[in-house]
């Protein structure tokens, strides 16, 4: 009897997080599905089989091509070339979702003055943290699945399923970068003195690293700065046109996730909650 009550209490925090973020999650999912569907529609009606596009793109100066959003010389008129370009945009949205979610899921209790209520419950702070982060991770997985599902539905059957392994690889790498930004967002929420600032700081980190990744692509010079730009770790060209994703990318992302995760758990326990 006691055990079941205790177990219920645990699940409640998890379920409540899922429930209170449900509408926002639906909005993000609709946003991603609309983006992919619109782009695929554009591809079907304009680019498919239009060989001149590829010719223009190959003649544009590189810096200009990167500004427009093309970071490698690909042939737009084929599904493979188009999807390598399309992969980047949902990935940005997934990253932003994860970063804001990681910051808000922790700082919200303080902002909405419910921290006193929650942390007075007979559940340890670490357990609350674990449950909240699990809920956030679940939502990341859902959004990732929606993205991969939309890709598979709209482009999976092209050229006899040629793109399916790429879509799966993209989904896996997206999950890693989502985890990176989720932990960075949670870290900013546990370190930031003012809870309202957590989202802003997490957003600035995301924007800065994205800009850095773009800058590296623009200069076509992947030096040591590459290690500071997680959005550049798993560029689609690595697994679509080149040898594969560098091992360093996996090592770095696991290191970031672990370091940020350990810091979150140690800092949040000592945090002086604003009430």
């Amino acid at each position: 009897m006691r055990l079941s009550v205790k177990g219920e209490g645990r699940m409640n925090i998890y379920l409540k997080e899922l429930k209170s973020n449900r509408k926002a999650l639906i909005a993000w999912a609709v946003c991603i599905v609309a983006l992919i569907a619109m782009s695929v529609m554009k591809y079907r009606s304009m680019y498919e089989g239009n060989a001149e596009i590829g010719q223009i793109m190959s003649e544009l100066p590189r810096i200009f091509a990167v500004l427009v959003g093309i970071s490698n010389n690909v042939d737009f008129s084929t599904a493979k070339g188009f999807i390598s370009l399309l992969f980047t945009y949902p990935a940005y949205i997934l990253i932003f979702h994860a970063g804001f979610l990681g910051a808000h899921i922790l700082s919200r209790e303080e902002e909405e003055k419910t921290a006193e209520f929650l942390y007075a419950k007979p559940v340890s702070r670490n357990r609350v943290l674990l449950l909240k982060l699990t809920a956030a991770f679940t939502m990341c997985i859902v959004l990732n699945m929606v993205t991969a599902g939309t890709f598979l539905l709209l482009l999976g059957a092209d050229n006899g399923g040629e793109l399916v392994p790429f879509i799966l690889a993209n989904s896996g790498t997206n999950l890693l970068s989502q985890l990176i930004y989720l932990s960075v967002g949670a870290l900013s929420a546990s370190l930031c003195k003012q809870p309202a600032r957590a989202g802003t700081i997490s957003g600035l980190v995301m924007f800065g690293t994205l800009l850095l990744a773009k800058g590296l692509a623009m200069a076509d010079n992947y030096n040591v700065l590459w290690m500071l730009a997680p959005p550049a770790y798993f560029e689609p060209r690595y697994y679509m046109f080149e040898k594969g994703i560098p091992t360093l990318a996996f090592v770095l992302s696991v290191a970031i996730i672990l370091a940020a995760g350990i810091l979150v758990f140690t800092c949040y326990r000592k945090r002086d909650l604003k009430t």
Partner: protein
């Protein structure tokens, strides 16, 4: 008096947003305009390259009227990127000004004051409007100064201001939408998602229409809040 105090309180709440977004937009304009000399001296003329292709393909790329070697062609092109960011900022600011009270459980406190709701909403709108004006003006000043530094004497102030002021007007439009969301869905948390989503949706629609009716069609340009067709070369 109490409204004045409310206005000051609102401005304080918006302070972080104002600083962050002004800085982001100003830095972007400095960054992009500092890249302009590279395009100016680039041996290849993009307009000439594009003129070799049929009209459909040119509309498709959406840059048919572009001359990136000239600031009048380059500036609207990068303005589009800044607009996309400014629009997200505007929507989020508008929505948060209204739903902040609900989300922070301060509704009881605020509406028990001897002020009617309309006056409160009016003050909130005014503060958002002020914030928008500040962000827009910082952006315009930053890009005007960096245009003077990186491409001296290449552009006249009046048309420059007219094109840049688009940032403020488009932000006002999205402020309205944000306030709309804040009023009708005060518990909604996915405002940023809606901002990004509507941006992409309108952008794709705009591109589709551009191909369907041609890049020069005035109605296409006027239908959707995505004014990038300002890139007509002056020569």
């Amino acid at each position: 008096m109490i409204l004045m105090r409310l206005f000051r309180h609102e401005m304080k709440a918006l302070q972080g947003d104002i600083i962050v977004w002004s800085l982001v937009l100003a830095l972007l304009s400095v960054l992009f305009l500092s890249l302009f000399p590279i395009f100016q001296n680039h041996p290849m003329d993009i307009r000439e390259l594009l003129s070799r292709f049929p009209q459909t393909v040119r509309d498709l790329v959406g840059i048919s009227n572009f001359n990136l070697r000239d600031l009048t062609g380059y500036y609207p092109f990068f303005l589009k990127i800044c607009l996309e960011l400014a629009v997200i900022a505007a929507l989020v600011m508008g929505a948060e000004a209204v739903n902040r009270e609900t989300q922070k459980q301060t509704n009881d406190f605020l509406f028990s004051k001897p002020v009617n709701r309309t006056a409160v909403l009016r003050t909130k709108c005014l503060s958002v409007l002020t914030a928008t004006a500040i962000i827009g003006l910082v952006f315009i000043v930053a890009s005007w100064v960096s245009a003077q530094i990186f491409a001296p004497g290449r552009i006249v102030f009046a048309p420059f201001f007219a094109v840049s002021a688009v940032v403020i007007f488009l932000m006002l439009l999205y402020n309205t939408w944000g306030i709309f969301i804040g009023v009708f869905f005060p518990r909604f948390r996915g405002v940023i998602a809606v901002a990004i989503g509507s941006l992409f949706a309108f952008h794709s629609l705009y591109e589709l229409l551009q191909v369907a009716f041609g890049a020069d069609n005035l109605y296409t340009a006027g239908l959707f809040p995505c004014p990038i067709s300002t890139g007509k070369p002056s020569s």
